[in-house]
């Protein structure tokens, strides 16, 4: 909802600059979407960070 196209483009651009993989991008954007819809709690955020770290390991 709050994540408009411009914001998504900005985040995608940065993910590319950071050399992060597609799966990382998918997880991160999905999280931002959930967060903007007030569907995230502290535990969810920690879980997402774990998933993102997995992707960092995968390169």
């Amino acid at each position: 909802m709050a994540l408009d196209t411009e914001s998504i483009i900005a985040v995608k651009k940065l993910i590319k600059e950071f050399n992060l993989n597609e799966e990382f991008e998918k997880i991160f954007l999905k999280h931002l979407e959930n967060e903007s819809n007030f569907q995230c709690g502290d535990e969810d955020r920690l879980e997402v960070i774990s998933l993102l770290r997995e992707q960092l390991k995968n390169g």
Partner: protein, 678 residues
Amino acid sequence: MELKIARWESKGLRCPDGIVNLKKDGFKRFNFIQMPNGTGKTTYLELIQAALSGSLEGADGTTIGKYYLHSNPSDESFFETDVECNSEKITFKIEFDFDTEACINKSENNNSKVKYITSYAAGGGEQLPGYKPPRDIRRMLHSEFVKLFVFDGEFARKLFDSTESRAFQCLDSICQLNIFDKMVKATNVYYKKLVIETDRSSAKTGAGVTKAVNKKETYEKKIEELQKILSEGEIELKRIDKEVSNINSEINEDTSLGGNLKKKAQDKKNIVDSLDKEYNKVTQDYFDIIKNPVNLHKKFISSLNILQENLYRLKIPASATRAFFEELTDEKECICDREMNKESKDAINRNKEKYFDEDRASIYNKLKSDIRDKLNAKDFDVDVLSRKTEEFQKLNDQRAEAETDLQVALEELKMSAPKNLANKMTKREMLIKERGEISKKIEEIRSDIETDVKKTKSIKILKNAIKEQEKIIQEVQSNILLGEDINRIKALCENSKKDIKQGLKKSIINQCNNKLAEIFKGTKKIQIEDIEEHISLYKQAGGSEGQQLTTGILYLSILLGRENCNFFTIFDSPCGPIDQHVRVDLSEPIVTLVKKDGQFITFVQSSERSYFTTTIESAVDENKIFYLTIYDKDRFSEEEIPSLPKDKTVETKNAFFVLDKVFFNNFSPKINKAESNL
């Protein structure tokens, strides 16, 4: 998304009891609610914000207590408002439970509480306990977001205040840039939760790894040196043994030596060898003796005797087996002489397992018999240790003496030997000495039990120290990797926020400036230069106060417009301290800014009508405006109040609600009743 406020009702709070119904004759584009100072305009504004955002849920007692009505307390206190979201009615109600005593005494320990109730058709129309707005609108009712459409002149002014960061907070709220902050905060929690804490202060850093690696390398180098001593020593020993053996052969084969001296030396050597053998045997026996504690001290013997006696006293049966109980139940009578009837048999079968203790009984019995056998054995010698010590010392002396005799004999032999043979004998001595030194070094390494890694020669202890350092390295490296991951995620969040903010800011400034160009022309032209923490206007310190407020409202409406929101706007005390001649800078643009199907609600006092509501009235159809005047009962003298239109007046417990345009425009009380009586 369209959001309109239909009504609100309050009772027993610091604002007039009664209902404000904005939908009575259909929603109006402009809604003027006139209330004299001190009637409760700000309380209305705050309660509307609190009802919509749920901000009082979980608030402290003091915050809640400020809504307590001291002058006229009521049994029931609540605030309820109906809003329509895309024509669906949602009701928010806050029920107050005041800590009356604390409110009256203004005590810091105030236990006032609130209870929220929410109801809407999609939620089943029932009253849901708690603040539970429909999911699709919840985001829009966040407390920071609500401030964007329910605000006062002070809030709008703060958008331009360089000491405040309101402008950015609004941008943050509407575009939810704070979701990146939440993620950054979570990364800190994640790191703290997962970081491996060690007793090394630098264990989270590269320095921690370097330190552990250096230590590991030192230990490895030390092991390498020790292993080199061992392996080279072993080779040397073999070489020396071989060389000594060869020299021995050469000496033995040499006929130049005197036969008697040679024989004498050989005899002495045989004695030494024989004593060495005996010495080894006695040493072994000696260790066997001291391994048994009864040989070390007589107290062991007396204690064992006591133990043995106590075990006998216990009368532990030889066995209490299953068979014993089975046989017992076959008897006609029990061992206690009672008849072995069915009840007795059942009781024995039921309880017998408690008495199965064969293993323990057998251990006790074995222990008992072992002690007895040992202490009563014919060959048991209580003085064995002292005798063996004496024997050992005697043998040691004999051995030393025989060794000296051998050395003397060898010296005599060497003295009588020709030079080359004497040299061989000297060399043999030196080799044997060298062998001893090497053996000593090897023994020092093999038998060292020093635990201090800095001093030890034990390869085993050093290997354990290496393992410990490896563990630290692994932990520190895990922490470093974790830190690197966290920093990457953090950097992504922070940069995302920065980039998105830049893009949004540019776009919003453009939209605002385009609209401002339409509103303010010629000498009044103003443009936004930047929106950072506050709004700064281009090439001037700032427009008139009216222009600033207009720009602020415009900024907020453009922010709301980004979300495709057509929300009602409540603007409390818009003109406040603004001079009359610049009020049109605010009132004229508002007519443009409020959408045709919008809902603009403003709380004003009579002094704010001039050049504000009057300007709007002149530009808008009369039927698009809602007029309401609310004032406290008994506050003003009758002379100060215009005649009340009875059919348009609602009298409540503590206020009059007058729904009339003429009354609205003529209401200008200046003197309080109390003052007029003076």
